[in-house]
């Protein structure tokens, strides 16, 4: 299930309303795909935003470590 094929088109979906801005996904993404966004969500947290989507190898660490089910990797 761990996606290693970089030819697959991926989309990193961030559900900003579920995010509580803990930054774990940003701090532990091995390829620095994510960064703190400038926008604040309704609850006052800063969700991550994708800054280097092309670097994403789809390891799904961010998806599995997220305490809020706020980030997921979708394959197109």
């Amino acid at each position: 299930m761990h996606l290693q094929d970089t030819k697959v088109q991926r989309m990193i979906e961030i559900n900003e309303e579920l995010c509580k801005g803990c930054d774990i996904c940003i701090d532990f993404c091995p390829l620095e795909v994510l960064a703190i966004s400038a926008s604040i969500n309704r609850r006052g947290y800063y969700p991550p935003e994708v800054v280097n989507e092309e670097k994403c190898i789809g390891c799904r660490l961010c998806e599995l470590v997220c305490p809020e089910f706020a980030i997921t990797i979708c394959n197109e």
């Binding site: 979906e13 930054d23 532990f28 660490l61 599995l64 997220c66 089910f69």
Partner: protein
């Protein structure tokens, strides 16, 4: 720090997270503090259920009192018995005996499972009753504001050990292995992939299975030790953890302060409810 604050307008349609189907979505987001490891445990658990293809109808969740008891109750969409403090394993014993066909899962904290309910843990492991217990160990009583717990490390300040904890922490996983469980492991919320695989394994074991999951509490515990970000804990778990096979070659001094992670026990002792049923078979007609 952030000057150009943008309040998002009507959202672009998201592809739903494939694990959300396991949750009571109407009550999300969770009430967990930002960065709380409880959500990561829920995530890993849902992932494990998804990968094993278990129908939530075939599961019962039994929880106690404390933050981590909220992991399945109410968030996981399944039958849930949210019990009194310390007693979930004892309640789960009654459930499992009457309905051995259901997978019984207890998720609760270190205070609940190893503190007030420690005796039930020992005896359920001794009986080797088929259930999966996830003890989410955040090293303190987080829900009540960060008091010392039976697993708080030695020498650490908490709200009730203002002059540092002078008690030694309980090694719950080793205790359960000694008590007779069929499967015991310890992981952390940093080790999300092996944790998820271990949950899968625990759910499949016939007998008592126990995973001690070190899980960050950046708010109640972190405030006392200046670890206020979830990532501070995850880095600590990453840097301080030692795999079981490596730990075996290390001295007690070398292991001081380390977190031994991995599978601590796997064996095949007779399961309790099956034994009860074998007694009943003797009296069955025909």
């Amino acid at each position: 720090m952030k000057d150009d604050v943008i309040i998002p307008g009507p959202e672009k349609r998201l592809k739903p997270h494939r694990l959300l189907k396991f949750l009571r979505q109407e009550i999300l987001p969770t009430t967990f503090c930002p960065g709380c490891g409880c959500g990561t445990v829920l995530n890993g658990f849902a992932q494990a259920v998804d990968e094993l293809g278990i129908d939530p109808k075939d599961m019962v969740f039994v929880t106690g009192i404390g933050c981590s008891s909220w992991i399945p109750s109410p968030y996981f969409k399944g039958d849930t018995l949210h019990t009194t403090h310390g007693r979930p394993i004892a309640f789960a014993t009654g459930v499992k005996i009457m309905r051995p066909d259901l997978k019984v899962v207890v998720i609760a904290g270190d205070g609940d499972i190893a503190g007030i309910g420690g005796n039930h843990l020992i005896h359920a492991a001794r009986r080797n009753i088929d259930m999966t217990v996830l003890m989410v160990n955040n090293w303190n009583y987080g829900m009540t504001g960060g008091q010392v717990s039976p697993t708080t490390p030695f020498g650490v300040p908490t709200t009730t050990t203002p002059y540092d904890n002078v008690e030694h922490p309980l090694e719950a996983a080793e205790l359960v292995a000694a008590a007779g469980a069929n499967y015991v492991s310890r992981w952390t919320t940093y080790h999300v992939f092996p944790l998820m695989e271990s949950i899968q394994k625990a759910l499949q074991v016939d007998g008592f299975s126990f995973i001690e999951i070190l899980s960050q509490c950046p708010v109640s515990y972190g405030k006392m030790v200046d670890m206020r970000k979830a990532s501070d804990f995850l880095k600590f778990y990453r840097d301080q953890s030692v795999r079981v096979h490596k730990a075996k070659a290390m001295s007690a001094e070398e292991l001081e302060g380390k977190i031994v992670v991995g599978k601590l026990m796997e064996r095949e002792r007779t399961e309790f409810t099956a034994s009860l049923r074998r007694i009943n078979e003797r009296f069955r007609k025909g």
